[in-house]
């Protein structure tokens, strides 16, 4: 099986799945299983990779820490190669991706009634793009996937969204484009510097790692990368697109946006930003800390004031991603591991929360907190999961978020105690708004007589799977930590 | 060469920029605009002929003749358009031709 170019299969399988969809473009009933099937195959592949990663790690790779690699000439004229690589971090992300897409497809099983063919196609294309982002080791290739995943999301929000969907989607697209164009310039500049120094025209990450860049230039280039990733992250002043996008996106869009797109930013920072420009990163670390902390506190405060549940969860995402940012900024094995784990955790938890809100929205056609109340009594199964994931989200020990946040705080404590302390304040604030949410929605007496049905079997099984995953990651994160151990050490230079 | 080459150039330049100035000033009358363009093309031909005389090379004269042929083609088409538009709008005043803005 290892003879297969597994990584390419991972990327292009969903695209091939699109072709399968073409004959049943207008037939919703038969298109849905096909798309879900493709996503499940992806998931199976990812699972197989996870199951066999220890075996793979024994096979010596060209690059240290990598499990699988692919390399082929693509556009030699520009020095662009088709280089893919899978290490522990990527594997985690790949698994998250494959899983989140299954979740997203399941949750939108009934809710997407119009233009289903287009919707499923876009989902699969996006899966390809995101897989590519997590696997690419050539900067140009990375950029390509980075942009490719944007377009389907643009359509998802714009076509199937609610509210001011067009405003939101254009805002989302422009913000991201702004960052990525600057990043493109920086990539090219880096490429040219490297070509000048060595005479080799390449965009390969590992060749470029050795480039000597003057500190000032490095600062500029890192700034460009940082901006692009920070927008995706999103860090504090650049976050404004996120609540809009989340609020107006369809449920599947929100799930993917929160579960995956945000992770591409942090992943990019980990994979490219810091390693390529260590000195500049060092210089800018205080900034990152500051932005992250401000983000956490600010987001939590704002979240408290939200009436729209999706908006609230979106702001909570900003806060959670702030922890990831802190972990990256510390650039220290424990904190970084925490960040990476937190990325996965946040993906699962927030994804689940968006699913829950989406389900509620499907039933009540509103997401206003003030419209609900007393759900605990009316739809107990739903309320249970709501409570469960809210607790996970606020970092209840034993559930997954706790692991990530704990590791981040532990790691950061050594390098920047003040930051850790402030971040802790953030956790407390998280507690406040989460409790408010849970209290208002589940336990307050009923405010409006809403005809709400409890979970269907599909929803129930989906949430069960999510909850089990949450629990497992919270209780037994060791295999995951093992998996990312070597790459993190290689990244932070502490073998 | 009967006169210094520079003097011919000055003459050509004067004519060329007179034509260009006229073109800029007469933006209201199609026929006058075309006339001004003719003046400019004449100056071009003068430079070609002067160059031909300077180097004893017939190419310049030929280029001038080609320019003439080209101009006649362009002018005939332009005037056909003027007639066509006039038939539709009863004016050659370009200010009246403002269906498109921006």
């Amino acid at each position: 099986m290892t003879d297969l170019p597994l990584l390419s299969v991972l990327i292009f399988l969903p695209l091939a799945g699109c072709l399968l969809l073409l004959p049943v473009w207008n037939c919703r009933v038969s298109a849905r299983p096909i798309a879900l099937g493709v996503a499940l195959i992806e998931l199976a592949l990812a699972a197989w990779l996870y199951a066999s990663w220890r075996g793979l790690s024994t096979i010596p790779a060209q690059l240290p820490g990598y499990l699988l690699q692919e390399d082929a000439a693509w556009i030699p004229a520009f020095g662009i190669r088709y280089t893919l690589g899978l290490d522990g971090i990527s594997l985690l992300m790949v698994m998250l991706t494959a899983f989140t897409f299954c979740v997203a497809l399941t949750v939108s099983w009934n809710s997407i009634t119009e233009k289903t063919g287009l919707f499923l196609t876009l989902m699969l294309v996006m899966e390809s793009g995101i897989m590519g982002v997590f696997l690419a080791l050539d900067l140009a290739l990375f950029y390509l996937f980075w942009e490719v995943m944007l377009i389907p999301m643009f359509f998802l929000i714009g076509v199937w969204g609610h509210g001011r969907r067009i405003y939101s989607t254009i805002k989302f697209f422009l913000f991201t484009m702004f960052g990525s164009l600057l990043m493109l310039l920086a990539i090219v500049a880096l490429h040219l510097t490297h070509a000048q120094q060595t005479g080799v025209a390449t965009f390969g990450l590992h060749e470029l790692l050795g480039t000597q860049i003057a500190p000032e230039t490095q600062l500029w280039l890192f700034g460009a990368f940082f901006l692009a990733f920070a927008i995706k992250f999103p860090l504090f002043p650049l976050h404004t697109w996120l609540p809009d996008a989340h609020t107006d996106a369809p449920t599947a869009g929100s799930v993917i946006l929160a579960g995956l797109l945000l992770k591409t930013g942090s992943y990019g920072l980990i994979r490219f930003g810091y390693p390529l420009f260590p000195q500049a990163a060092q210089t800018l670390t205080p900034l990152l800390y500051a932005l992250a902390v401000i983000g956490i506190i600010y987001a939590s405060l704002v979240a408290f004031a939200q009436e729209d549940m999706k908006r609230l969860i979106a702001y909570s995402s900003i806060g959670h991603m702030g922890f990831v940012a802190i972990g990256i900024a510390a650039w220290q094995p424990v904190a970084l591991s925490g960040s990476i784990i937190q990325m996965a955790n946040h993906g699962v938890t927030t994804g689940a929360l968006f699913c829950l809100v989406g389900m509620l929205d499907e039933r009540a056609h509103t997401r206003d907190i003030r419209a609900f109340g007393g759900l605990w009594g009316k739809i107990p199964r739903y309320s249970f999961f709501f409570l469960f994931f809210s607790l996970a989200s606020l970092g209840l020990p034993g559930l997954n978020n706790f692991v990530g946040e704990f590791l981040v705080l532990v790691g950061t404590m050594k390098k920047a105690p003040l930051v850790a302390a402030l971040a802790f304040v953030g956790i407390v604030l998280t507690l406040v708004y989460t409790v408010r949410l849970v209290q208002e929605v589940l336990f307050q007496e009923e405010r409006q007589p809403l005809p709400l049905a409890d979970l269907s079997l599909r929803e129930f099984s989906l949430l069960v799977v999510l909850a089990l995953l949450d629990l497992w990651m919270g209780v037994h994160p060791a295999p995951l930590l093992d998996m990312i151990h070597l790459p993190v050490q290689l990244l932070t230079g502490t073998p | 060469m009967i006169v210094p080459f520079e003097h011919i150039l000055v003459l050509a330049g004067l004519l060329f920029f007179l034509g260009m100035g006229g073109l800029l000033a007469w933006r209201a009358n199609l026929i006058m605009m075309l006339v001004c363009i003719e003046v400019m093309l004449n100056a071009v031909m003068l430079v070609f002929v002067a160059g031909s005389a300077r180097w004893g090379n017939p190419d310049g004269q030929l280029f001038a003749i080609f320019i003439m042929a080209l101009t006649s083609a362009e002018v005939s088409l332009a005037l056909a358009m003027v007639v066509y538009l006039h038939r539709k709008k009863r004016t050659v005043n370009t200010d009246m031709f403002s269906e498109m803005k921006g």
């Binding site: 076509v159 490429h191 | 090379n57 190419d59």
Partner: protein, 464 residues
Amino acid sequence: MTTADIYAIMPLIILTAGCVLCLLAGSLRPGFYLYPAALAVVGAALLWCVCVPAESVMPGMTVNRFSRASSAFFYATGLVALLMAYGYNRRRGIEGEEYPATLLFALLGMGVTCSASNLLMLFLGLEAFTFAFYILVTIERDSILGGESGLKYLLNGTLSAAVMGMGMALLYAGSGTLKLAELTTVAGIPEPLLQAGIGMILIGLAFKLSLVPAHLWTPDVYQGAPAPVTALLSTASKGAAVVALLLLFPLLQTWQGGHDLLWLLALLSMLTGNLAALLQPGIKRMLAWSSIGQMGYVALAFVAFPAGGDRAALLYVVAYAAAGLAAFGAVSILSDTSERDDIDSYRGLGYRNPLAGAVLALAMFSLAGIPPTAGFMAKFAVFAAALRAGEITLALAGIASALVAVFFYLRIVVVLYMKKPAELSEVRALTVAEILALGIPGATLVLLGVYPQPLLDLLKAILA
């Protein structure tokens, strides 16, 4: 003239014979059968260009790989434009043999331009296809816009011909030769006459490329001309002007002022074009202004000429041509008896006419430079070249304007897919010609965006 020469210029001979026969046949028996005939002629010329590697050096013309490849590009563009014109002209009642014949003549002019080896042929070639466009732009006699824009184009074009002619005259007067090769050897002399000549030629070409500040004709002409004509005008004619610039570039390089002038043109075009496009209510005017901006990127590539800008420029032109053909093709196919120009009238069309909508959206993405489309590769190449040449200011300005551009390109996509359709008129089934006219540029866009290497190899080979 030897047999080899005749073989080498056979595409031009085919086109000449084609357009004359088309006129004759049309006067004997008018009808739309002439379109397939013209299609066959262009196809034959294209095939010959691609398949018969005949090369020769004649007085005034040099047929080599460069000229063969460029003419193949022009003929392919013409082919697509003809395909989309067939149905369009039928619906709009543009009858007569003039359209196909003039189109063939335009292609002939472009073919001559790209194989010219002296200033005379270059000038005549440029003027020939511009002249053909004067007719094509006005071809719709029932529309007052057509006549107006034709006249505007003609006035501007003639002015540019005068300026360019003056430049060539000064070059000739300063050097005594019309041959490009000889001129290049003389041009090194710091002779003000030659420099003035180069500058004026550059300004003349700026008209053809519609670079700011010589762009004023562009929006009106694009709006007034029928969409298939605009498609060809915005792609092939720009391409031919770029080719002419490439042919003249060895001259231009000898003078720093030329570089500075081009720098200014590039900057102004990128900013003005993209900013003005923001304000346009009509799709053709929007595309017109955006094409001004796009040509600014080409100029940027030329500014970075020594750093691989030539290849970037050609790549950009090909990508832009594919996108332009796709966009205007979609416009012409979505137009019925009247042209669908108002952007608002495209609401929801992406679903009612999926292929046309998809291709239009694809073209917009490509123009905005978003991967995986050809536009991205082209922008990538251009910015790479610009950075390599150290033109950081221009590159930043380009990036900024590209970001602005994303906005108005997306507007089209938004309208296509995210707005409720206004009226539910009958949806016309696409004909084979229309599917081809949309499919070819659309496929090119994707193909070039994913795997541009063959084209890059080709460009490298022809530029060597």
